[in-house]
Amino acid sequence: MSAYRSRSERAGRAALIGFSVLVFAFLVLPILAVIPLSLNPTTFLVFPEGEISLRWYRHLAESPQWTHAFGNSLKIAIATTLIATPLGTLAAIGLAYMRSRAKTAIVALITAPLVVPVVVVAIAFYFLFAPLGLVNGSLGLIVAHSALAVPFVVIVVHAALRGLDTELLRAAASLGARPLTILIRVLVPLIAPGVAAGAVFAFMTSFDETTVALFIAGPEQRTLPIQMFEGVREQISPAIAAAATLLIIASTLLLGAAELLRRRGEGRAGSAPPDVGA
């Protein structure tokens, strides 16, 4: 690159790249290292030497605890998605029409579940449901997960709305469409990729959620994260590596797809919004 003239500048650049490579390795290698560990035929947490085996995946598929936990997580995550996506989408559209001052207050309320520590949310639900006998039921978990997931839907759909080509809406208006018709027939189809991305974020928020589940799920509602948490805590085995591998693949595919949808929805290949977290 022509911008780098002096030797010291080139040395600085090399040091920057070298350091960054180490940080990238720190970020990615621990995640990737789990994959070969899960293919190990022994009960030890070492890389397979020569022979690889799907033994630990068979173990997951045949263990009623793991399959039951997977079923629960799926059920709760789907219900959460079905609640959080419409609520968040409608609110994001409403926000797009709002003025700045009221909007700031409403955005603060909607994003509050991202700010409050999950443990505080978890015990709030525990205190609420324990006297009502709702601890140990799926309903409490679905409601709590929806509250945690909804900010992501609003953020993503709102970003899609900002990237909208408003000429299309004005064209519809100049052709005589009423506002509500524009909303349903023009606006919603245009932001559909953003809504789909928001739905995936909502699904993954619930599917991955550990803390609230640990507090308010009973033995019947054991979710995959609970199963995994207790596996790590009590008896760590290559089965954990296999489950982690499956979850890594699932979240990479789903959230990778959501990221592509989101970028398409925003109409530009920008960076991830800073406030979207997992």
Binding site: F26, L87, P117, V120, L164, A244, G267
Partner: protein, 397 residues
């Protein structure tokens, strides 16, 4: 920014409200109300009032000076017997035990003697059952619990208590644990935030200096951990850092160490795993800020003769500081509330305040204490977030 509310076709106010109302109502019911109700338990104290209604009234009428009146003692004695028979005495006993250790056994022993009908109910009679009835401690404990509000839990969360004369005093040294745990929570969060700055700033700078064609594939290396759940990444570290795990094996094979290192169930494990989990939360917003800084400023500085380091320090770095602060605040505030990661890779001495909150919720069932600890976690956090929002707003768009 293309498109804004101004360009969206007009929509009646009624419609805007109708679009927002479902979510706002849902959040009020499913989030705001439960959290506020939970936090209120830090100061609301109605166990004694509910189960001993007459004693609560009598306690509030008593000024607390000198010996308690015999009428009060008679009321308390009557309600001790009534709640013992109803099976609810343990709830009052638990509450009084928080204030004065030994209250529980005192109440039960007294209930048994009173039920047997062998004792009178003046203060002097009660003191014959147990001399503690003649001392100020148990009476002060009851006064402190007479509701509807209490300072007990918040003071306890600060390692303080009310003594029999209602002065705020330090709890005995062996019970003073929370100041330590808060300090530890803040220290771990601050160190993780500093580690994220040290590791993340150069990476964000490199990404921002590359053309998008080259930066986007590298960005995936940041997004991959971002997309993978914190639990899965913590589990990965728990697998890798075991005594005979992959990291120790590799270090031994290379010959850097002779015997396996203890990398997990200690502070080191917590720092490694938490930094890994939170680093993308620092890199991504900072990268966003750096992308917004026009490269022309740096070029102008160097064309005016500033050496590269000088141009970086005096022109580029100051413009990125709001992004650094915002990212560090995000990492710090998220770290403050961490529960799962320290629980899985930390030892007993590495647990953060969330673990204490969980303990008082699940095991000790002292909900007032759990609420007070939550409140003291939430207050500094909200201040930080507010400071962070103000700073982010100053970021040049």
């Amino acid at each position: 920014m293309p498109g804004s509310r101004a360009k969206l076709p007009g929509l009646r106010r009624w419609w805007r409200v109708a679009l927002l109302a479902p979510l706002l109502l849902f959040l009020l019911a499913s989030f705001v109300a439960p959290v506020l109700m939970m936090l209120s338990r830090a100061v609301v104290d109605r166990d004694l009032e509910r189960l001993w209604p007459d004693s609560a009234v009598a306690l509030r009428q008593w000024d607390g000076a000198g010996a308690p009146p015999d009428a009060l003692a008679a009321t308390v004695a009557r309600e001790i017997v009534a709640t013992r028979q109803a099976g609810t005495l343990n709830q009052v006993a638990n509450r009084l035990n928080y204030d004065m250790v030994g209250s529980r056994s005192l109440l039960y022993a007294t209930a048994d003697r009173l039920t047997a009908g062998s004792a009178g109910t003046t203060v002097r009679d009660l003191a014959r059952i147990d001399p503690r009835w003649g001392q100020p401690g148990i009476w002060a404990a009851m006064r402190h619990a007479d509701g509807p509000l209490t300072r007990h839990y918040l003071l306890a969360a600060l390692d303080r208590r009310l003594d029999a004369d209602d002065r705020i005093v330090n709890v005995p040294a062996e019970q003073a644990v929370f100041a330590n745990i808060y300090l530890r929570t803040f220290k771990i969060s601050a160190i993780v935030a500093l580690l994220c700055i040290a590791l993340g700033y150069p990476v964000a700078y490199l990404l921002a200096s590359l053309p998008e064609r080259k930066a986007n594939p590298l960005l995936i290396l940041v997004l991959l951990p971002f997309w993978t759940s914190a639990l899965v990444r913590t589990a990965a570290w728990a697998v890798l850092l075991q005594t005979n795990g992959v990291v120790n094996n590799a270090l031994q094979t290379v010959g850097l160490i002779d015997a396996p290192l203890q990398l997990i169930y200690n502070r080191l494990g917590v720092y490694i795993a938490m930094t890994h989990v939170l680093l993308p939360f620092f890199i991504l917003p900072l990268y966003g800020v750096m992308k917004g800084i026009p490269p022309t400023a740096m070029r102008a500085a160097s064309s005016l003769g500033a050496p590269p380091l000088r141009a970086f320090l005096s022109v580029y770095l100051p413009q990125t500081l709001p992004g650094v602060a915002a990212g560090a605040i995000i990492v710090f505030t998220l770290a403050l509330g961490y529960y799962v990661t320290p629980a899985l890779v930390g030892g007993g001495a590495d647990q953060m305040i969330s673990a204490s909150i969980a303990f008082y919720t699940n095991q000790s069932l002292n909900w007032g204490m759990a609420a007070a600890l939550s409140l003291l976690l939430l207050l500094p956090l909200l201040l930080m977030v507010f400071a962070g929002r103000t700073m982010v707003r100053t970021v040049p768009a």
